[in-house]
């Protein structure tokens, strides 16, 4: 019977709220709407799963991927800064489609005199021009960059028909390549290498005062575009910012350089005895056993000696790389080379650094150690690093990644001193670029389309790796609050993360910092490291050496964790919204056994008397006129209703463990921000003790602006703080505390100054 009445009452409670609305208001025609709940599923945003990209986020049984193998003979002309190449390409059509043509990427054409890249940059004149800038910009001749294609021939030496559309070249095939078929062709080309310090770019050369050059060469050969199950041909133009989509394959490359150059690149040197001195060769072999510290292969003294001369002859470096998506190399007579072995579950991987003397002492102290740390930590979060080496090359003002090799900035002052900042910048760029081996060199997302999938994900793992390398220099507490400045900005100057990279404002914040901060929040606050790490690893393993899409990432993270994160992806990745949660009001309640007016009203409306209500306790707000001060001294157990119930229903043992709260608080949280997030609340009691409570984000599912919550406490609350550790990128902290804290950050600083 008691149960029945309670059942009825609960129905009554629900219906009574409808009545309240309908009474004295004139009827308005209300507009209907589609599902606008922030927790609705992402069905409309995500592509329909299929047999290639499955609903679980894994590759399907009909997933296909092309393979492209390259053989190249290159000549680096140091005197004239030109690069010549003869390239033999074997294209494997693993798809189920007939291909009528092939698309080849010609990135160097972005630097050609007729490039359209400058044309899409709008805006009026600058505020001021230095004479140097003026002469260069308005009076100079454009740099003669871009590919010079000498021929495109088939395997039998017959000319192939082709058409160049800026940075994309279409090879018109005599017959379509059948599914499973291969096609072999040759391209001969050359181009002028750019001085990247004055003409910019992610590769080129740096000239030193004595005339020596340091080459970092990449995006240097015609490369096949990706043909995949999602985009067909990924042949969006290269405008200079959104990077690459590339196929995996094997590379056999020979590079002819001046005789006194030192070179390393993607892949393993096949003829070390030919290119190193006998001593260097010995050290090159011995380094493979040095697991505890870096050792020199090319010593600073040898490099110093080499850079003084200009050898006449040449030598040829032969490199071979398996299952890589690209090829790059660095060459100079200035290079010092050090090395350290890294144990990857029984397999030895080499960590290498190549740098000029200008990088020391910073580079010999940190670069190779940072490479080793990066390989270890990234492997822990993904899969064992599968390549034979990872190389960090010091190049002024660069930070750019290729398989097994990357260019990194960071040099001390000429007096050899360097600040903590220089050191920090250098460690973070080495970590970041070496980390790119995992994303996107191996987990090979489409960078032309989705910058965040490699930059954002990589920047996230970078946070974890740097913290292991030096936790003082790289504290985790910086995240995610580092994105608050960006996220609280003007909405009209923002694009969602899920935007093509060329079209976003604030590239760095949009494609690097925000997605990284989002994943950081997911790991630390929403999912917890255990659930997150397993799911993240699953994504990396499922898609290593494959082409994942955003949906594959989103789906895998849910598939492997049993957490519905659609609301998080929707808010953080598909919108420009920010998070702002505040505490609006706190009401104190006391317990009474006297039915409140509300209870009386309810009883009346449904035709029962107050006495017919089942025996109950009621909460009275401190501010209401039903409140009398004697309630303040009463504990819930003082009321016989509760006391009797407890005595009747619980054993003596059990009774001891029951603790009735003394205070009841009604907390009203407001949410001016557009995102939904968990509410993290810290309660500070009068005795100074603290307690935390985290309400899941789903607390907002019925009301996106405001929610109330009853919080029972055995001690009086002195202070309430929302998100005390700034874990949720809350953009406005002025509403995060009760009682309101009026002191601004500025006031605090000023107070400190006066004291100090």
């Amino acid at each position: 019977m008691k149960k029945l009445i309670l059942g009825i009452l609960s129905i009554l409670f629900v219906t009574s709220s409808f009545y309240a609305q309908e009474t004295d208001k004139e009827k308005e025609v209300q507009k209907s709407h589609y599902n606008i709940n922030k927790f609705r599923q992402l069905k409309q945003e995500l592509p329909t799963p299929n047999k290639q990209h499955t609903a679980s986020g894994a590759p399907g049984y009909e997933y296909t991927q092309q393979q492209v193998d390259y053989k190249m003979d290159l000549v680096l002309d140091d005197e004239n800064q030109k690069l010549f190449g003869e390239e033999n390409i074997t294209y494997h059509n693993n798809s189920k489609d007939f291909l009528e043509y092939l698309w080849v990427q010609l990135d160097q054409n972005m630097r050609a005199p007729d490039s359209k890249t400058p044309d899409i940059k709008g805006g009026g004149p600058d505020v001021l021009y230095f004479p140097s800038k003026f002469t260069k910009q308005f009076m100079g001749k454009p740099f003669q960059g871009g590919f010079n294609i000498e021929y495109v021939k088939d395997a039998h030496g017959k000319d192939l028909d082709y058409m160049i559309n800026r940075t994309m070249m279409r090879i018109n095939l005599p017959q379509p390549i059948a599914p499973g078929g291969t096609f072999v062709f040759n391209i001969k080309w050359w181009y002028n290498i750019n001085d990247y310090l004055s003409d910019a770019g992610r590769s080129g050369y740096e000239a030193f005062p004595d005339g020596n050059k340091l080459y970092v060469i990449a995006q240097f050969f015609p490369r096949l575009a990706v043909y995949n199950n999602v985009e067909g041909w990924q042949n969006m133009q290269f405008w200079g910012r959104s990077e690459f989509a590339l196929e995996f394959g094997n590379y056999e490359v020979s590079i002819t350089t001046p005789k006194d150059h030192i070179l390393n690149g993607t892949g393993v040197i096949q003829n070390p005895k030919d290119v190193f001195t006998r001593k260097q060769y010995k050290r090159y072999q011995e380094a493979k056993k040095s697991f505890d510290k870096p050792v020199f292969i090319v010593t600073p003294e040898e490099a110093l000696e080499a850079e003084k001369g200009r050898a006449k002859g040449t030598k040829t470096w032969k490199l071979y790389a398996e299952n890589v998506r690209d090829f790059a190399f660095a060459s100079s007579r200035k290079f010092i080379w050090d090395a350290m072995a890294v144990d990857m579950n029984g397999k030895t991987v080499m960590a290498y650094s190549l740098y000029p003397k200008e990088g020391n002492p910073l580079w010999e102290e940190h670069s190779t150690r940072v490479v080793a740390n990066t390989l270890k930590i990234y492997s822990k979060h993904t899969f064992d690093y599968p390549y034979p080496h990872a190389t960090s090359v010091n190049a002024q003002r660069q930070g750019m990644e290729y398989p097994m090799i990357c260019w990194n900035f960071g040099r001390p002052n000429p007096n050899g001193k360097y600040s903590e900042r220089t050191k920090k910048g250098m460690i973070s760029v080495v970590t970041h670029e070496v980390g790119h081996n995992f994303f996107p060199m191996i987990v090979n997302s489409d960078e032309r389309q989705w910058t965040w999938m490699d930059e954002g994900i990589n920047s996230f793992v970078e946070i974890l790796a740097e913290n292991v390398y030096d936790s003082e220099l790289f504290p985790m507490s910086k995240y995610p609050k580092n994105v608050v400045g960006y996220m609280s900005g003007d909405q009209s100057k923002m694009a969602p993360i899920m935007s093509q990279g060329d079209n976003v404002f604030n590239f760095g914040a949009n494609a690097y910092a925000k997605p990284a901060a989002g994943l950081f929040i997911l790991r630390q606050t929403i999912m917890g490291p255990e659930l997150f790490d397993y799911a993240f690893k699953t994504y990396a393993r499922r898609w290593k050496f494959k082409h994942p899409t955003p949906a594959d990432f989103f789906r895998t993270m849910e598939d492997a964790s049993a957490m519905d994160l659609d609301w998080f992806w929707r808010g953080w990745f598909y919108t420009t919204g920010n998070n702002d949660i505040g505490i609006k009001e706190v009401k104190k309640y006391y317990v009474t056994d006297k039915p409140t007016k509300q209870a009386e009203k309810m009883a009346k409306r449904y035709g029962i008397t107050v006495d017919q209500l089942p025996p109950s306790l009621y909460l009275v707000s401190e501010n209401s006129d039903e409140f009398s001060s004697d309630l303040k001294n009463k504990k819930p157990e003082d009321f016989s209703i509760l006391k009797d119930y407890i005595e009747k229903n619980f054993s003596e043992e059990e009774q001891k463990t029951l603790k009735a709260p003394k205070y009841f608080y009604e907390l009203t949280f407001e949410k001016p921000g557009d995102l939904v997030m968990p509410i993290i609340v810290e309660f500070e009691y009068e005795d100074g003790t603290k307690e935390r409570k985290q309400y899941p984000a789903q607390i907002w599912r019925h009301n996106d602006r405001e929610v109330t919550k009853v919080f029972p406490a055995s001690k009086a609350i002195k202070k309430i703080t929302i998100d005390p550790d700034e874990q949720t990128a809350d953009v406005d902290l002025s509403n995060n505390s009760w009682p309101k804290n009026k002191e601004t950050k500025f006031d605090k600083f000023k107070k400190k100054q006066i004291k100090g």
Binding site: K121, V127, F409, G425, N506
Partner: protein
């Protein structure tokens, strides 16, 4: 094609920005606190970029936020700000007080204040910090007065903003 090179340089500068913190941005937050009659300004700049700009034309290089920093570094900062960060409140000649600076990781944050502003009628800002040396530098100004918020994005083409209440 005479414009090409000039625009390429502008366009490509952000391409150096591959490490997380390497984008060219400053954030200035301005808040008027009526009870204190105070216009409070904080402006944060990347130390690397500021050091580069401040060292131009100096014989003795400044090493900001390091052991080798000179004792009177605040004088250099004040001088730089007075040249590159000009603020006028209520069209008056009064200028801001330099309350101090703090180093926060790779950023220096300046605290500047206009005291004794009993009524906040207008503010105009000219911010040319770093834009001479970093063409893609974007200087963000956020203004907050009670529940009113306004954000301006300044750069080397437009270095001024004005707000009237």
């Amino acid at each position: 094609m005479k414009f090409s090179k000039y625009i390429i340089v502008l366009f490509v500068i952000p391409l150096f920005a591959f490490s997380l913190h390497k984008y060219y941005i400053s954030l200035c937050e301005i808040e008027y606190i009526k009870e204190e009659k105070s216009v409070q300004i904080t402006i944060g700049l990347f130390l690397d970029d500021l050091e580069y700009s401040m060292n131009k034309g100096l014989n003795d290089k400044l090493y900001l936020a390091s052991e080798d920093e000179v004792e009177n570094i605040d004088d250099y900062y004040k001088k730089y700000l007075s040249k590159h960060f000009k603020v006028t409140v209520n069209d008056s000649l009064q200028t801001y007080t330099y309350v101090g600076k703090e180093y926060d990781d790779d950023i220096v944050r300046f605290y500047l204040e206009f005291p004794n502003i009993s009524e906040f009628k207008s503010i105009s800002i000219t911010n040319t910090c770093l834009v001479e040396d970093f063409p893609s530098q974007q200087n963000i100004i956020k203004i907050k007065v009670d529940h009113f918020y306004k954000t301006f994005y300044l750069n080397n083409k437009n270095a001024n903003c004005l707000l009237n209440f």
